[in-house]
């Protein structure tokens, strides 16, 4: 190896983007094909700087659009090596076509999706519209609630996605600015420990193996298309969850940090609970703790693995609760929130009596304050006490003007 290693401190103060870039460096990614977009740009800039400083040996291909970025990733992954990129928002929208192609071709690629609102109106700040837009694109999706997790989940993403029984691309979500540009203290792994965890890339059906020529991205008509998609879905449902468990367990062994498909906080005896994603999970934990002091048995569930969606974990965790709020950070566009629907889907056909309400919040970076969450838990407790929803099923929080509520 001709590149230099970095000596890291036990605690480094990094923001989420830099944490992700460090993970790409430690995983010794072979090709980064990318196009810059706020707030994800620093992930790619970070990798490019590592290359400029001889800290990685991979190729940096700065293409002319996000669609080309993922196209380049697909070509590189099919050629047979470790591949990663980063994008957000409109960039993801432009890339969307190729996301389906990457997963259908069963190519492991790690995409750092730094969650940002979708125009119009144009907005560079965080919401989860981009994450939701590609939720059915066949990618495994992890969600980081802070910079440490963005780092950890990148390493885990390579390990899971590249497994020969999985061979699926992985999105690592983090909140734009709230995580990507927020510096916090992290405990990174050493370069050796991180690389040994991810492991050497093991090629499969690689185009650069000239002893086994392979055609990638072939066409299937109605006689075969369904079988290919069925296989992909079956593998995602049947194989991927256990592979994620294995990777989480091994990661815990080397780091002491334990990850789960859903992250439960104070749920053992909880009566009311908030289900959400991103940095809101942590803010909700802080508020839940304060609500406990006021006598409300509050808990929080954070969705760590958004795809494959943890239906069984959710229904088990929520079945005995009295009232649950599901927070969706995306404009629902004439429906219930997507996470609300997933949670509702996890509970239907069970005999739970839990009251479910949905909240749309935080669009375009609108602050989710502790006060919002205090009010929300208070409302949940009122529902629980009444044994029925006292509000409409869908409410908007944090928006100016007359109260918005639907359904």
């Amino acid at each position: 190896m001709a590149f230099d290693k970095l000596e890291l401190n036990e605690i480094e103060v990094w923001d989420g983007n830099h944490a992700a870039a460090q993970a790409l460096r430690q995983a010794q990614v072979d090709v980064v094909s990318a196009y810059p977009i706020t707030p994800s740009t620093a992930v790619v800039e970070g990798y490019a700087k590592f290359k400029a400083d001889n800290l990685v040996e991979g190729e940096v291909v700065m293409v002319e659009s996000e669609h080309a970025a993922m196209s380049g990733c697909i070509g590189a992954a099919a050629a047979g090596g470790r591949v990663a990129t980063a994008t957000a928002s409109q960039g993801l929208a432009l890339m969307a076509e190729t996301l389906y192609q990457a997963s259908g071709m069963r190519l492991p690629i790690v995409l750092n999706l730094v969650n940002r609102a979708l125009a119009a109106p144009l907005n560079v700040n965080c919401d989860h519209s981009d994450m939701y837009m590609v939720r059915d694109s066949g990618w495994i999706q992890f969600d980081a609630f802070n910079a440490q997790e963005a780092y950890d989940l990148n390493l885990i993403a390579f390990k899971v996605g590249e497994d020969h029984d999985v061979r699926l691309p992985v999105v690592v979500n983090q909140d734009g600015f709230l995580t990507s540009h927020t510096a916090q203290g992290l405990h990174p792994l050493s370069d050796d420990d991180a690389y040994n965890f991810v492991g050497e890339y093991k090629p499969m059906n690689d185009m650069l193996d000239f002893e086994h020529p392979v055609s990638h991205g072939i066409q299937t008509e109605e006689d075969w298309h369904f079988e290919h998609k069925a296989r992909q879905h079956a593998d995602t449902m049947n194989i991927v969850p256990a592979k994620i468990d294995e990777a989480f367990a091994e990661f815990e062994r080397i780091s002491g940090r334990k990850y789960n498909h859903i992250e439960k906080y104070d749920m053992d005896d909880a009566e009311v609970c908030v289900v959400c994603m991103g940095t809101s999970v942590e803010t909700a934990r802080e508020v839940a703790k304060e609500m406990r002091e006021k006598g409300i048995k509050a808990g929080v569930i954070g969705i760590r693995v958004f795809r494959p969606f943890p239906f069984a974990d959710i229904s088990e965790a929520l079945k005995d609760l009295k009232a649950v709020a599901v927070l969706d950070r995306s404009a629902p566009g004439g429906a219930a929130g997507a996470l609300f629907n997933e949670i509702a889907g996890s509970l239907i056909n069970t005999d739970t009596k839990v009251l479910l309400s949905g909240y749309i919040y935080g669009l375009g970076g609108r602050d989710l304050t502790k006060k919002h969450l205090v009010d929300l838990y208070t409302e949940l407790q009122a529902n629980a006490d009444a044994g029925k929803l006292l509000t409409q099923q869908q409410q908007f929080i944090g928006v100016r003007g007359p109260k918005l509520a639907f359904l």
């Binding site: 144009l122 540009h181 803010t283």
Partner: protein, 185 residues
């Protein structure tokens, strides 16, 4: 929980200053958070940056803050933005200005009755670093007012954080930090 709000213009180094401060504090075993509000506005636009410091992990990601300290590193912002917003009774204001404190408060009555400290970070930066980057001097002033760390320890820590810069610039920053420490009133 210690909370700090920075008022700055984009390009004046508030984000770097906030992250640098977080880095120094982190080495002492405390938990830190440093972030900023960005828009699409370019260099020169008013912006805010934030620090949170606590003995336990910082979980709160809300942007709303009732700060313990407000740093104003550009002299005009004290007039053009409300630096006292969400202030508490005991919030301390460290403000970059060439004016004496009483004239500043006369010019901006919102500061009346607040705990205000003044230091001319712009002039200090111009005279030491050679550029109007007032972030490190502000931290020198903060060390004096907060008595958070011994100034020599703080300067040593900042040397480590600035180590990628040319030695001349690092040295100039050390002088700037010390001057602001000495000159803040």
């Amino acid at each position: 929980m210690l909370e700090i709000r920075w008022h700055s213009r984009a390009g004046q180094g508030a984000v770097t200053g906030a992250k640098g401060l977080a880095d120094v504090i982190s080495t002492t075993g405390k938990h830190v958070q440093a972030f900023a509000f960005y828009g699409s506005a370019k260099r020169g636009a008013a912006m805010t940056a934030y620090n949170r410091v606590d003995d336990k992990p910082v979980l709160n990601h809300e942007k709303y803050m009732e700060p313990d300290y407000v740093f104003v590193i550009d002299p005009a912002l004290v007039y053009t933005s409300d630096v006292t917003v969400n202030g508490k009774d005991n919030t301390k204001y460290i403000i970059t200005t060439h004016l004496p404190k009483d004239e500043l408060i006369k010019a901006q009555p919102k500061l009346e009755g607040k705990e205000v400290y003044t230091v001319d970070c712009i002039t200090i930066a111009n005279e030491t670093i050679g550029r109007p980057i007032p972030n490190t001097p502000m931290l020198g002033a903060f060390m004096k007012i907060s008595e958070m760390y011994d100034i020599e320890f703080f300067k040593e820590s900042m040397k480590r954080i600035l180590k990628k810069l040319p030695q001349k610039i690092v040295d100039a920053n050390m002088i700037a930090i010390q001057r602001a420490y000495d000159e803040v009133k």
